[in-house]
């Protein structure tokens, strides 16, 4: 994640923004052509599945070893059995202290999506303006660079005071979290439209609308979506922490609550679930990105 969030050169330099974008912006053609024939593809998929199994078995072995040495840590089998217990009744709701893990995850997802949506609505237009105007870039970029490295959790008290409500404070924290990667990636995508494309628009006298619609947006969409993908990834990490602070409900609260009930096996189960949900979110964005990517013609 640090790749894209690194120190930002001004947009006017020769270095195109996409070059600094993390790997997800891959021209579609190169991905597609790697597939090969059907049988070979199935074989290579089988092989990578096999390697993944080896990785998880290794993890389990190391974990088992550590659990046998440290007192109080659940073993892998205790974690897995806690997971099956949790998943046997994911959506029960017996009052604020006994909710199914599915409900907790849904609550967290809802907060993440809400904060993320607000952040996207704010960050994309500002990022586009920053990318299009060198001067506005110079106005906004220092502010963004100063605020970006701040842990979003530091904003939680401000959210609490302004919104007077812990769950909304959590949404506010997610909003702040999801702002920066989207903002900066959008600005770079827009700023790095190649001169060739601009010249085409000039020679064939594209109107401003047509330029935005047919050159600027299609060119910068992969960068924008990549920014959103990074924002979503961080937001999903931050929600766990902020819900430990905000309390009440959500998967972060669930983890903290399980710890207080001395139920570490459930903590382990929650970690696995959080990982799976995060992976699915990222895969979803990967799909969207593929949809908006284009092969560089030359």
């Amino acid at each position: 994640m640090s790749t894209r969030l690194g120190e930002a050169p001004p947009p006017a330099t020769e270095e195109p923004g996409l070059a600094a974008t993390p790997s997800p912006v891959v021209p579609v053609a190169s991905v597609a052509s790697r597939g090969g024939s059907g049988l070979a593809a199935v074989r290579s998929m089988g092989a990578s599945f096999g390697y993944a199994v080896i990785g998880f078995l290794l993890l389990g072995a190391i974990w088992q070893l550590i659990a046998s040495m440290a007192d109080g840590l659940p073993t892998p089998s205790e974690g897995v059995s806690a997971l099956t217990t949790l998943l046997s009744s994911p959506f029960h709701d017996n009052g604020p202290n006994d909710k199914g893990v599915g409900l907790q995850l849904a609550t967290s997802l809802q907060r993440v999506f809400l904060g993320f949506a607000f952040a996207t609505i704010v960050a994309v237009p500002i990022g586009m303006v920053m990318g299009a105007s060198k001067r506005l870039f110079q106005v906004i970029n220092p502010v963004a660079q100063l605020l970006r490295p701040v842990s979003p959790l530091a904003w939680f008290p401000l959210g609490l005071v302004v919104l007077k409500d812990a769950p909304n404070g959590a949404v506010f924290v997610i909003f702040i979290t999801a702002l920066w990667p989207t903002l900066i990636n959008t600005a770079f995508g827009v700023a790095s439209v190649p001169t060739d494309h601009k010249n085409v628009a000039r020679v064939f006298r594209f109107s401003r609308y047509k330029y935005v619609r047919h050159v600027l947006l299609p060119y910068s969409l992969p960068s924008i979506v990549t920014g959103m993908r990074i924002s979503m990834g961080i937001a999903w990490m931050v929600i766990v922490a902020v819900e430990m602070l905000s309390g009440g409900n959500g998967i972060g609260f669930f983890v903290w609550d399980a710890y207080n009930a001395d139920d570490l096996a459930s903590v382990v189960a929650a970690i696995i679930l959080i990982g799976i949900v995060g992976l699915l979110l990222d895969l979803g964005f990967g799909r969207v990105l593929k949809r908006f990517s284009y092969a560089e013609g030359h």
């Binding site: 021209p27 060739d196 494309h197 020679v203 064939f204 284009y294 013609g297």
Partner: protein
């Protein structure tokens, strides 16, 4: 009326200092002429083409087309760029249509569609019109770029090393296609083509403009190619006048205008 280039100068300023790329270029191109511009790398030939296209503003001097000074891009001129410059997210059809339609607001959508179809057909791309640029070959991309330029119906067509990246057979094929389009079907009267290839420059042009590098980046010589059309590769190479012009150009480019080897730092 004609295309007149009058005392055009251009200097680029970079962090590493200034580089003068055009110093007092004067050239008058008659209506209906095919001009090749040839010279070593860095002689400013592409800059001259961009200036005619209205993409680069001269520091001094002016470019006058049919009595009007060029101040920017216009529908009377179209450029075929060096690296095709098709928009990679659009189909071949849309690449041509969007350009044709926005460059010519005086046309109706149907007229723009008709122009698009006409030039996609005459460049043999009609059955590939729905493909995206990455799905077709380099030669086809270049034909799409040519179709896009012609579809605007420009008086002056500007080509910036259009066939440089193509293999010899494809290049020969496209040269013929360009001649056909220019000679018969299109509204385009005048062509200015920047090239590296001596053969290509002579084969296509009525006059070959030779440009020199610094210290005097300007027109060094203009050589007439008085060979009647239609020309074919087979007939023209046997023509003594062709050999004469080739020798003259080779002499100019390889002996008189030779660029000193850069001294290793």
């Amino acid at each position: 009326m004609a295309l007149e280039i009058q005392g055009v100068r251009k200097t680029f300023h970079t962090r590493n200092g200034s580089q003068e790329v055009l110093r007092g270029v004067d050239l008058t191109i008659a209506k209906g002429e095919f001009i090749s511009v040839i010279g070593h790398s860095g002689c400013g030939k592409s800059t001259l083409l961009s200036a005619i296209g209205g993409l680069v503003k001269p520091d001094a001097g002016q470019i006058v087309l049919d009595g009007e000074t060029v101040t920017g891009p216009g529908p009377d001129r179209a450029i075929v760029f060096q690296n095709y410059s098709l928009l990679p997210w659009m189909s071949v059809y849309d690449n041509v249509y969007e350009a044709a339609h926005s460059a010519r607001p005086d046309r109706s959508k149907d007229e723009s569609r008709a122009a698009t179809e006409k030039y996609l057909r005459s460049t043999g791309l009609w059955q590939h019109a729905s493909k995206r640029p990455d799905q077709i070959s380099g030669g086809m991309r270049q034909r799409a770029a040519v179709a896009r330029a012609f579809s605007v119906g420009p008086k002056v067509l500007l080509l910036d090393e259009p066939f440089g990246a193509l293999d010899a057979l494809t290049r020969a094929h496209l040269q013929n296609q360009l001649m056909d389009l220019w000679g018969s079907e299109s509204d385009t009267e005048t062509v200015v083509m920047v090239t590296h290839g001596i053969d290509e420059a002579i084969f296509l042009a009525d006059r070959v403009v030779v440009m020199a590098n610094a210290p005097l980046p300007s027109v060094a010589a203009v050589i007439e190619v008085a060979i009647e059309r239609p020309r074919t590769k087979a007939t023209i190479t046997a023509d003594p006048r062709y050999q004469e012009v080739t020798e003259e150009l080779v002499h100019l480019l390889q002996e008189k205008l030779v660029v000193p080897e850069p001294i290793a730092a």
